[in-house]
Amino acid sequence: MSDARLAAIARHCRVQIIRMLTHAGSGHPGGSLSVIDILTTLYFGRMRYDARRPDWPDRDRLVLSKGHCVPALYAVMARAGYFPESDLITLRKLGSPLQGHPDRIALPGIEAATGSLGQGLSISVGLALGLKLSAAPARVYCILGDGETQEGQVWEAAMSAPKLGRPDHPLDNLCVILDYNKIQLDNFVAKIMDLEPVVAKWQAFGWPVLEIDGHDTDQINKALDQAEATRGAPTFVVAHTVKGKGVSFMENDPEWHGKAPKPAEAIRAIREILGIGEAAWDDYLKTDPATRAIVDELAALETK
């Protein structure tokens, strides 16, 4: 089950992901749509932060190690008040703080520059250790891509996190979530370099492992509760997700890993995300001026 409020925010953010990628003309819709329910659950009810004070020392940290899916993070951050939603269409534009991959210097609220895959977990371990040493109450959330865990540095970090800081400062303030959408750039993960058995691997490295549906916000919340209650070790959450979730023609298709929709495709995607039938679409738009504006803006791109 998904909480209605979170589901509405996630729908809104999915629309914004499609919108910004279409304006940019490039980017990664598949993984952004697979991770958005996780990010929505974290930012709207779980994490402690102050969008007006992104450097608040006791804030919870989110490291999006799969940095290419940063459109999802931008959508959530805009909704949370870090910057106006109108900035989203500057994604990937020269000079915009909304770079194609997260840039911590350019955009306050981004905790780590990522996108060169495999590095975010080490940074998260360092953040968690530093916060423990300072006795800060903050938690660290790290989101890994599935293909990303083929990188060797991930396993160096995986080996270290359950051990570092013990016995006085175990990293139980760290929760790692795997966005297991089963697709990477070139093809299905299982066809490129299979990760299985994922749960057994992380357990063998010393992590308590939970397995959930990464689109069910109740399950996500329950896992995050359990991680927060766990003492003495960091927690690993395997979130089974669907690449391109919410857009029928993007779901489970490796083609949509790193390709922006054309305006007409984007409008269809938005209609599907909002769950409106084709016949009812025009009437619906009369009742939803915000979506109408986004659709008009996208339609105008077509004629450019």
Partner: protein, 284 residues
């Protein structure tokens, strides 16, 4: 002062500074007895972390610690730590994380362990990255000052240290400054720019040249990035000849920098980038 390896001086400075500054932490990859952080680890076990033989993870954890206000020294042999270039590029340089990267066992002067343990490409690698100054002290006095500077410097830096003992070369009143070089011996016929271990050899060469009636000016280029262009150009303008002496591979480092800095100056210079060598990129 007696001869001392700069890695040993580093270990002593760390022990001293670390005892007084709670922000300082060390990270090692199973070489703490060689990087000389072991004594700090014994004195301050809560702030010393050995991650095992996993340099990329060590650097990344250092970046995370830095982002919580700690001052991490991530330490290994120069070749092993800078060999994790991609992690340094993203997690330290692009992030501008306040990580102090320490590479010991630099150069061919490590001797019998051979190439696999020699840091000879490290300067070229790190110099190519944004935000990271490169410092190579030449003796115990300068090393201790450079370590103190590293703690105060807001941002990452790379400290290049030696395995072998170094004779004292800096005067007792010397004060290290980033981007400032020091004339150790004035002269007017040729400029010898040395950095780190080979500086002592430069001073020896200057004495031999003096016997031949050639007056050599010897400069300590501890700050490899940024260079002291003003001092270099002034000396080059005076002597008309610049020779750089370094312990690193041919295609890297200060000769290319010096060449770039002196190119366009009105003085003749023997310091030029050899054919096929990459040209210096960036002056700071």
């Amino acid at each position: 002062m007696a001869a001392k390896a700069s890695r040993v001086a580093f270990g002593e400075a760390l022990l001293d500074l670390g005892a007084r500054d709670e922000r300082i932490v060390t990270l090692d990859a199973d070489l703490s007895k060689s990087t000389m952080t072991a004594r700090f680890a014994k004195a301050c076990p809560d702030r010393a972390f050995n991650v095992g033989i996993a340099e990329s993870n060590m650097i990344g954890i250092g970046a995370g610690l830095a982002l919580t206000g700690r001052i991490p020294f991530v330490c290994s042999f120069a070749c092993f730590v800078t060999g994790r270039f991609e992690t340094i590029r993203m997690s330290v340089a692009y992030t501008n994380a306040n990580v102090k990267i320490v590479g010991t066992h630099s150069g061919i002067a490590i001797g019998e362990d051979g190439y696999s343990q020699m840091g000879v490409e490290d300067i070229a690698c790190i110099r190519a990255l944004p935000n990271i100054p490169v410092i190579q002290p030449a003796d115990e006095l300068e090393t201790k000052q450079a370590v103190a500077y590293a703690v105060e410097h807001a941002g990452p830096l790379y400290l290049r240290l030696t395995r072998q003992s170094l004779e004292p070369v800096c005067p007792a009143d010397y004060r290290f400054q980033l981007g400032r070089w020091l004339v150790l011996r004035p002269g007017h016929d040729v400029t010898l720019v040395g950095t780190g271990g080979p500086l002592f050899n430069c001073l020896g060469a200057a004495k031999l040249l003096e016997a031949d009636g050639i007056s050599a000016e010897v400069i300590n280029a501890a700050s490899i990035k940024p260079l002291d262009e003003e001092l270099l150009l002034g000396s080059a303008g005076k002597t008309g000849h610049v020779v750089t002496v370094e312990d690193r591979s041919d295609a890297s480092a200060s000769r290319a920098s010096a060449s770039r800095a002196t190119r366009g100056a009105s003085t003749p210079s023997t310091a030029s980038t050899p054919p096929g060598s990459p040209r210096a990129s960036g002056s700071s």
